[in-house]
Symmetry: C2
Subunit: 459 residues, 2 copies
């Protein structure tokens, strides 16, 4: 793929990479400064850097050079620089510049641990301010306690591993994410799905019925209810508050899966009635992967974040306050720092959620002007992730195109838009999260242009 | 702390951060290029960048400015640039320039997933070459199959969760890392420690005795033996081959914990007789955290990497070939790419292990010239991580110093050396891994200088 911004992009990355080479030279040198030999190498590199920067100032020199590789065999990734990216799961995970700076400075593995002191646990470290960040995270989702975890899935695992015994049932929605299945399977539990209503929604009534049915069938109350506030398939909004009430009527705790909410829209765990709030750093908190958050109430904190009780039979050793389900410390280094650096921006952006939804609906209104296009998700949208159906439009074009379904992603990428599932022309997903109004207009126009090119009716 | 290289360091980071701001501008712009308004902002930033680069060329201008912050509240981390870092667990995790470039380009959360196709699993992705990397990883430790995991601890957890039932015993060394304890505790197992011999070593005989004792006591054979090739306390080398033989005599699988070997010295899992080889990316593979590797044999692969068998009771849904203990995909984004980008260098550096050990021993020989200094680890060293005892030297000085034990880390950091546990003057650990001979000499001299300053005898 080639972007019209290739020159700028290429020079920007070249400069960044050259600076990393310079940085390496500094790292290799003695504390007193560069040696004469290192000085020579330094001069060569800074002089090269100056050339690159001059060329960048001149707009990349317009000479359309090949983009630099990261290393041999690993090409440059520049989707966010060169294109409008509507990939369904990448949108709200893309890093802020602050997170990228944190990754640069704190990339080394154990960078978080420079000032780790007793009691030697990640969430107690005060420089960088990791302890404060944990408090703020809990507050952010209005729960009592929070921990960072290597992905939302590891939060699910910690909860199921604590609550679910072999043979116990766990209630999930018929739209459950596969990681919910796996976390129940790993604990030896059984998945019981709640059916959807005619609008592809999970209702509180349906959850109640399922709890009753499972209890009758197994003679035991299910141990946990998982609910995705917005599911990953349609990003429809499900009645989390109603479902929490129902779960609690049966004394079952509720895990609120906020992989598609925490970090992009306000989430109030207490108001929802959630016992666990799970979020994904790399999906919705502008953070490096793998990252996520597990928050809970004081009621459940002692169980989920229980500390080790194991004692060595020979040494009598006990490992203090390390938490079993967390496997001790969880997110070291740049991954955590990227979460922390993005956090002020993330907190702020959740307040703009209505505007994000508005842009999503604006785009879809334009998209529907292509006669035959359909929205599979609930509409008007309450989210920026949407499943659309173009069976009546682009899929028909695909049937007579020598590139088949790929014609659409080809056409879009020629127009600077990526992130559609290549080859898909029937039902597919896109996400407009974080796109400016200018990009929303550009995106709308691009679809209509392609439709017109292939003689579809555009109203 | 101030480093004499502060000017260079400050300007290098300022340039990197300014480039991230420029990059952000490119990200925000439309695919066609910068708008007139963006162009103005671009010019301002590139002009600022040019100034920084010119100042860098001039050696940082010598004006000793304050170092830039990452963001408000998160200070710059520059220990590797400004100092010689002898922190025990950070040495072999520090990133290569290649890894840092990979983090820059692939930092966005789901950057690995751009070309994810059926069967939708991380280790099957071919661009970037993640699938090949998995094959190379298995080959690197001479095992049959490998997966990346978010830290060695998550590898332990996958193995105990697969093999250990409630009440089963697991044999570990009396020097076991706390994450081994936690992984057994999470699975509901019991820890049984093997005593050390008089040299702080775990012998094959001691393991055999412990297996016998536990079997007598519990009427069941232990389910797993963990052995750290080099333990985290002394980094003494334990007889992994002999212990593997013993474990196999009792039909117990062996988990080889290579957190302090995989990535720095050659590891041949088959020759050792390991059933599982675990490595840590951020500890020993020059990779971002959390990262690690779990490798196993064909015999155990089907169990440890078993795919989901769960079926939705309503939808009949099954989630293909997602692996239960991996929770599906494991290491997305820059974390994995940092491992991959460092890997060619990591493979190469394991061949220089003897030289690394030589430098470690050279330093310690000099260190022992301070009369009263002692080595607690086995000596001569077979590793670069060492526990030393300065009770007879620096600790005596500390008793009469108003900064108490902190005087030593103060004195060392004034000389450009960091990573000692602040305040520790009795037994403490250091790691010389990756230091050039120049740095080794510098380090040796610094300790002797401080000793002389405080009138200790130096031979």
């Amino acid at each position: 793929m080639k972007s019209p911004k290739n020159d700028l992009i290429g020079k920007t990355f070249e400069a960044l990479f050259t600076l990393e080479d310079i940085r390496e030279l500094i790292r290799q040198s003695l504390p007193g400064g560069l040696s004469a030999e290192e000085e020579i190498s330094f001069k060569q590199k800074t002089s090269r850097l100056r050339d690159i920067v001059e060329s960048l100032e001149a707009g990349g020199a317009g000479n359309n050079q090949a983009l630099p590789s990261v290393v041999d065999g690993i090409g440059l990734r520049f989707r966010e620089e060169g294109y409008i990216n509507i990939q369904p799961i990448q949108a709200a995970g893309r890093l802020t510049p602050e997170a990228r700076k944190a990754l640069i400075s704190y990339g080394d593995g154990y960078s978080t641990c420079d000032t780790c002191r007793k009691p030697f646990r990640l969430d107690k470290i005060s420089r960088p301010p990791i302890a404060d960040f944990h408090d703020e995270l809990a507050e952010f989702v209005n729960m009592d306690v929070a921990r960072v975890v290597p992905g939302a899935r590891r939060a699910f695992q910690a909860v199921t591993s604590s609550l679910v015994e072999k043979g116990d049932s766990v209630i999930v929605s018929a739209l459950a994410h596969y990681t919910e299945f796996l976390s129940v399977e790993a604990a030896g539990g059984l998945i019981r799905e709640v059916s959807l209503d005619e609008n592809n929604l999970v209702t509180a009534d349906a959850v109640a019925e399922k709890i009753e049915a499972v209890t009758r069938e197994t003679d035991r109350t299910p141990k946990l209810v998982f609910i995705d506030h917005f599911d990953y398939q349609f990003a429809n909004e499900h009645d989390v508050e109603g479902i929490a009430k129902v779960a609690h009527q049966y004394d079952i705790p509720l895990l609120y899966n906020g992989a598609y909410t925490v970090g992009i829209k306000p989430v109030d765990g207490k108001k929802i009635g959630a016992d666990f709030v799970v979020g994904s750093g790399h999906k919705s908190m502008a953070s490096a992967a793998p990252s996520g958050v597990l928050a809970t109430t004081d009621e459940y904190a002692d169980l989920i974040f229980r500390t080790t009780q194991m004692t060595g039979d020979v040494t009598g050793k006990k490992f203090g306050i390390k938490e079993v389900e967390m496997m001790g410390c969880t997110l070291m280094g740049g991954t955590l720092l990227s979460m922390m650096a993005s956090f002020p921006h993330v907190k702020k952006r959740t307040k703009n959620w209505d505007e994000e939804v508005k842009k999503s609906n604006y785009f879809l209104k334009e998209f529907l002007k292509i006669e035959g296009n359909e929205i599979v998700s609930e509409y008007p949208r309450k989210h920026t992730l949407t499943k659309v159906d173009t069976s009546g439009t682009f899929d028909k074009v695909a049937k007579n195109n020598k590139r088949r379904g790929y014609f659409l992603s080809d056409e879009m990428s020629k127009r600077g838009i990526v992130g559609m599932f290549s080859g898909a022309t029937r039902q597919w997903k896109l996400n407009t999260y974080g796109l400016s109004w200018e990009k929303i207009h550009f995106l709308s126009d691009a679809f209509k242009e392609v439709a017109e090119k292939y003689e579809l009716n555009v109203n």
